[in-house]
């Protein structure tokens, strides 16, 4: 075991140690001690991941470490081992790097909270689970991490559990994620049935096996009455896994929990619900990309769901007034764009957006947190405004983040989004698959235009113009302490610089990032990859259009909200049609209500009916009878045990007689 693997082994366990220290000794450590331990654990894990990253980047080979044989039962053999390859090293750096910054930020943000050690113990536990998820060398370990991050997310959303609404948000996240996890677990079992292994390496190696290929591609009837639908096994597996991804990465139809998850402390939203956990669905699809590309229908579904989510969530972000809700819908939308890329085979494009998004979205959330902190908990954009001079550092960094996410060159978001849009439009521009490409391309571009608009709306409403809140609150607003502005600054720098890692060939760049990931993700469809090289002209054209769209969206937002702040209301007043559309968007398309009508209420009604008929009438009766019997026997046993030595002696003798009688008569007769 060399130095890099030793470091790799240490990384997750440092966070675990932090969790244990804070969880067990929290009361002793106190506020400052708890925060110090939590931050130190995160930073230490980042420092330990540097040698690992250096090793991976210099050799291009994966760093592995086998810790122990975890499960060894007959057919099922699972190692507890970590694998840091070209894909996971990026996640490792995001999780530990951004994670450390957010830990540091939290130390300032949560300084006044009553239960700092509990907060940091959850946060460290989250880091540990997330690292298991990305570093595990098999799907089972990933699943453990997957459930672990879900648990931590639930605990942190409901961190202020005294507030019933926040506790409800926590439960909602938990239940929605259970649905996704069910799909994920189903996919895992199916994979084990086919491959007899959970190892990524074994799975990938065995994909070439003709036997296994045949099994994967074999089709089966879905068994839906009257409809003759056939599906290949691999299609079913990947769809089940994708269901898991929609849960964790907040895609249609399971996105509903993420906006509510903003009930948690803001740094948590930044770390878990923007930068890391929600991208684990994308990580999982990239990890198993070779399996996914065997099922083109699944890929189309992923692209479609991603594109639809991107536009849908962006529309909802337009009409939100809660600063965190805007960012939450923006996250859902950006995740949609990532899935759009994955679905069109742009695994490295999607993953690159994960990378850049981690920086600017964490930055935006932390900036929003800084604003909320300064305004003592105010989250409504309508009561902000004019904070530019009060919070100069926050404003400057937020501006960078906004420009980056809007896709304005040369900030990070431009490069990552450009790659995605090219993937989406590719079918149309190369004439390979015109209809498909046109739909996905339009969805992608429309979503980017909306992104630029709602982000500049947020920035303008919060920082520019005249203050709309109470004068008192405004005058109390003060810049946050260094523990909060330092992470903002670092993230802002990254948001500017990260894009240059993947300057496309069309701009005479070298597309480092794509080249880096190329050995570990699938190249699909092969024509598309080749096409990119020969369509530089089209790509540059697309870039220009995208840039114009980004500027247009941003400028439009600035113009409306600075010069004509009354315009939206006027338009809505004048045209009742548009007003109705606005209302629909503002109320989030009534999706929550629809879920309530379509899913929650029928389930409750069915549950009630079942409860009355099955539970109360049948099962309860059975259970009551069983309980009665148990009680009678229990009572009899208790009576027997009357405490008198004489009784015990009688039973002793009776037992002895029975024992000896058994031997004499039963065995003697035989």
């Amino acid at each position: 075991m060399n130095e890099a693997s030793r470091c790799l082994a240490a990384v997750p366990f440092l966070c675990l140690a932090g969790f244990l220290a804070n969880g067990l000794l929290g009361r002793r450590l106190g506020r400052n001690g708890g925060a110090a331990v939590g931050v130190a654990a995160a930073i230490a894990s980042f420092l330990f991941s540097i040698p690992v990253a250096r090793e991976v980047f210099s050799t291009g080979e994966a760093v592995k470490v086998d810790l122990f044989a975890w499960i060894d039962v007959a057919d099922l053999q699972v190692k507890f081992a970590f694998l840091c390859d070209r894909l996971s090293v990026i996640m490792l750096l995001i999780v530990t790097g951004v994670g450390s910054l957010i830990h540091l930020y939290s130390a300032g943000y949560m300084a006044h909270d009553a239960s700092v050690p509990r907060y940091f113990s959850y946060l460290n536990l989250f880091m540990f689970s997330m690292l298991l998820l990305v570093l595990g060398d098999n799907l089972l370990l990933m699943f453990v991490g997957w459930e672990g991050v879900g648990l931590c997310s639930y605990l942190l959303i409901g961190f202020w559990f005294e507030d019933p609404e926040k506790a409800y948000a926590g439960r909602k996240a938990f239940i929605v994620n259970r649905i996704g996890d069910f799909g994920f677990a189903l996919g895992l079992f199916a994979i084990f049935m086919v491959f007899h292994s959970f190892d990524y390496e074994t799975i990938r190696a065995n994909l070439g096996d003709s036997n296994i290929r045949g099994r994967l591609l074999s089709t089966f009837e879905l068994g839906i009455p009257f409809v003759d639908v056939k599906m290949s096994l691999v299609c079913a597996i990947t769809l089940a896994l994708f269901l898991g991804a929609t849960g964790k990465s907040a895609q249609i139809p399971l996105y509903v929990w993420l906006p509510d998850a903003m009930a948690g402390p803001t740094p948590v939203s930044a770390l878990i619900h923007a930068a890391t956990m929600v991208t684990s669905g994308i990580y999982m699809v990239c990890r198993l990309s070779h399996l996914f590309v065997m099922a083109p229908p699944t890929m189309d579904i992923i692209a479609g769901v991603g594109g639809a989510t991107a536009v849908f969530a962006a529309l909802m972000a337009l009409a939100q007034n809660d600063i965190k809700k805007v960012l939450a819908y923006s996250t859902v939308s950006q995740l949609g764009l990532m899935f759009l890329a994955l679905g069109t085979g742009g695994f490295s494009a999607g993953f690159f957006h994960v990378f850049t998004h981690a920086f600017f979205k964490a930055l935006l959330f932390l900036g929003a947190g800084s604003v909320i902190h300064a305004l003592s908990g105010e989250q409504d954009l309508r009561r902000m405004g004019g904070l530019k001079d009060r919070l100069p550092a926050t404003f400057a960094t937020m501006l960078i983040g906004t420009v980056a996410i809007a896709g304005i060159p040369p900030f990070a978001g431009f490069f990552s989004k450009d790659e995605i849009l090219w993937r989406a439009w590719e079918g149309y521009l190369t004439g390979r698959n015109i209809g498909h490409g046109l739909i996905l391309g339009l969805l992608g571009s429309f979503a980017s235009a909306l992104t630029a608009f709602y982000m500049f709306r947020l920035l303008t409403l919060a920082f520019l113009g005249a203050p709309r809140g109470s004068a008192e609150a405004h005058s109390h607003a003060h810049e946050s302490p260094w523990t909060m502005t330092l992470p903002l600054t670092i993230l802002a720098i990254c948001s500017v610089a990260a894009g240059f890692l993947n300057v496309p060939h069309a701009l005479h760049g070298s597309a480092h990032f794509s080249a880096w990931l190329q050995p570990v993700v699938a190249a699909w469809p092969e024509i598309a990859t080749a096409a990119q090289a020969s369509h530089h002209g089209a790509e540059i054209g697309l870039m220009t259009v995208s840039t114009l769209i980004a500027f247009g969206g941003s400028g439009f937002a600035l113009w409306i909200y600075l010069k004509r702040p009354g315009l939206p209301a006027e338009v809505i007043q004048k045209s009742p049609g548009l007003g109705r559309v606005y209302a629909v968007i503002r109320d989030k398309f009534y999706i929550d209500e629809a879920y309530d009508r379509i899913v929650v209420r029928p389930v409750k009604l069915t549950a009630f009916t079942l409860w009355i008929f099955v539970d109360v009438l049948i099962i309860d009766t059975l259970i009551n009878v069983a309980a009665l019997i148990a009680e009678v026997i229990s009572e009899a046993a208790r009576r027997l045990q009357d405490g008198a030595v004489g009784t015990y002696a009688v039973w002793f003798l009776a037992g002895a007689m029975l024992l000896l009688g058994y031997f004499l008569f039963v065995l003697g007769a035989a």
Binding site: R638, G643, V645, Y648, F652, G655, L659, Y662, L667
Partner: protein, 516 residues
């Protein structure tokens, strides 16, 4: 394996160290300074810790020297991985008990010198029980455990409950060992020898009649059934466990039981069974003569666990509830006994090792609560989850582990037991056992419910914290770690148990040596 006497004795280091500690404790208690508060406790704990270390070292020595077993004292005592496993378990129990008894005020005021002397003697008794292969040695070992236990049960001299416990214990125990001795005398008479392997050889050569031997083993089963509190010889258990000092109860329900199981396995498996392939004790075993006794033990197991679980149903005292629970667990552990396969024995060992931690932990919680001023009734545990969060969490973990819920050690132990049963055709038995665990959920959860869902503080300020002190906190943590760890990563323990069963037949006999 013929070795020099001195070299052989090196395998007895744990027992020797234990005896030396015992002498030192007595000497210190009699001749030590008057003002020696806690000194005896520290000495005893140190001695037990060192003994534990020696047990581990001897364990390693057996492994590194590839030595399956070492016979001592004219073949009446054996040092093999099987016995070392039980010594390890019992040593851990005694060590833990010694550590946490040190902070029990009442033991201190009653004379800790006596307490630790008796504790060390019982530990020595269990160590002997683990390794003995001779009827005489067996009786001596069992009584070395029993007699001090009677005194320990009545250690609170002025306490009515404690005296009652010790009276019931001694009368029941003496009767049981009398019956056992009667059976042992006949075993000797029927086979003409007192060594386990000799009796087995006598059956094999047809000198002794299997039926008569079985009948007398039935009498022996009474004595051992008493020790492990198997039905119908369990009736002393709830009363004694409730009345004894809780530290003693914890000891009786873990270490003492483990010793009983050790000798039960060795006695029955070496006399009434042999491995199918002589060199593979981890495989199938064949009963000698009629296999009917396995059915008998199966019935005993079922009755034991059912009575234990059902009687626990309506208990209101936590100690008494845990007493019934420990009866039920004796039933679960006996399941591995009937399988007649190495996997069953391995499951027993695994279960005993995990059971020891969770049960010890649960009793430790009871001690910690009553030392902090709480009581032993379930109602005294109201709102404990809020008043003492760590203790509440630990207690919940121990109880859930006793129920057998994943991801805790008790779950893995049950899986091994049930898997061994199903694999060898005892499906009905595993179904009954699974039903029993389902029943047990009810009364375990009742305690957890009382701790968390009753007496919930309305506001944060309403919580009246129950301070248990760092000493108990650390000890709880020590029990908690294996309870959780073996539920997630149980491979090392499973390997240890497998090796302990498989390295040498615990049991299988060496041919009878000719006496010179």
């Amino acid at each position: 394996m013929q070795l020099g006497v001195v070299e052989n004795l090196s395998f007895l280091t744990p027992e020797i160290l234990l005896t030396v500690t015992l002498g030192a404790v007595i000497a210190l208690d009699i001749g030590g300074p008057k003002d020696r508060k806690g000194l005896v406790a520290r000495l005893a704990a140190t001695g037990l810790g060192a003994t534990l270390l020696m047990v581990i070292l001897t364990y390693f020595e057996l492994e590194t020297k590839q030595r399956a077993r070492v016979f001592l004292f004219a073949d009446s005592f054996v040092v093999d991985p099987f016995s070392m496993f039980f010594k390890l378990v019992a040593g851990v129990c005694s060590f833990m008990i010694a550590l946490f008894a040190a902070k029990v005020r009442r033991i201190e005021s009653q004379g800790e010198g006596e307490f630790y002397t008796l504790l060390l003697v019982t530990t020595l008794g269990i160590f002997l029980m683990a390794g003995v292969t001779d009827l005489v040695g067996m009786v001596v070992a069992i009584e070395t455990l029993s007699i001090p236990s009677y005194i320990l049960a009545g250690f609170y001299k002025r306490d009515r409950g404690s005296s009652e416990a010790s009276l019931k214990y001694v009368l029941y125990g003496a009767t049981a060992s009398g019956s056992m001795l009667f059976g042992l005398a006949f075993l000797y008479g029927l086979s003409g020898t007192t060594s386990f392997q000799g009796i087995s050889a006598a059956i094999a050569s047809g000198r002794a009649d299997v039926l008569s031997i079985s009948l007398m083993l039935g009498l022996v089963l009474i004595g051992l059934g008493f020790k492990i509190s198997a039905a119908p010889f369990h009736m002393w258990t709830p009363d004694v466990y409730e009345g004894s000092p809780t530290a003693v109860t914890a000891y009786l329900s873990t270490a003492s039981k483990a010793g009983g199981f050790a000798i039960l396995i060795r006695l029955f498996y070496s006399i009434l069974a042999r491995p199918e392939v002589a060199s593979r004790p981890e495989g199938q075993w064949i009963p000698i003569g009629d296999p009917g006794w396995t059915t008998l033990v199966a019935v005993i197991a079922v009755v034991t666990m059912t009575i234990g679980n059902l009687a626990a149903y309506k208990q209101t005292n936590v100690k008494r509830l845990l007493a019934y629970s420990s009866i039920a667990h004796a039933g679960y552990i006996l399941l591995g006994f009937v399988v007649m396969h190495g996997s069953g024995l391995m499951a027993m060992l695994f279960y005993i090792a995990t059971y020891v931690f969770m049960n010890l932990g649960a009793f430790l919680c009871v001690i910690a609560v009553s030392e902090a001023g709480g009581g032993e009734e379930i109602s005294d545990f109201r709102g404990l989850g809020w008043r003492a969060p760590f203790l509440g969490f630990c207690m919940a973990a121990f109880l859930f582990s006793l129920t057998g819920l994943p991801p805790l050690a008790g779950f893995v132990g049950k899986v091994y037991l049930f898997a061994a049963l199903v694999e060898h055709g005892w499906v009905w038995l595993s179904v009954v056992a699974a039903l029993n665990s389902a029943v047990s959920l009810y009364y375990y959860v009742r305690v957890v419910k009382t701790m968390y869902l009753e007496g919930i503080p309305r506001r944060a300020g309403d919580v009246v914290p129950l301070r248990i002190g760092s000493h108990f906190g650390i000890m709880l943590f020590v029990c908690l770690v294996p309870t959780i760890l073996f539920g997630i990563y149980w491979q090392p323990l499973a390997r240890l148990a497998t090796w302990s069963v498989g390295a040498s037949a615990p049991v299988e006999a060496r041919p009878v040596a000719a006496h010179k």
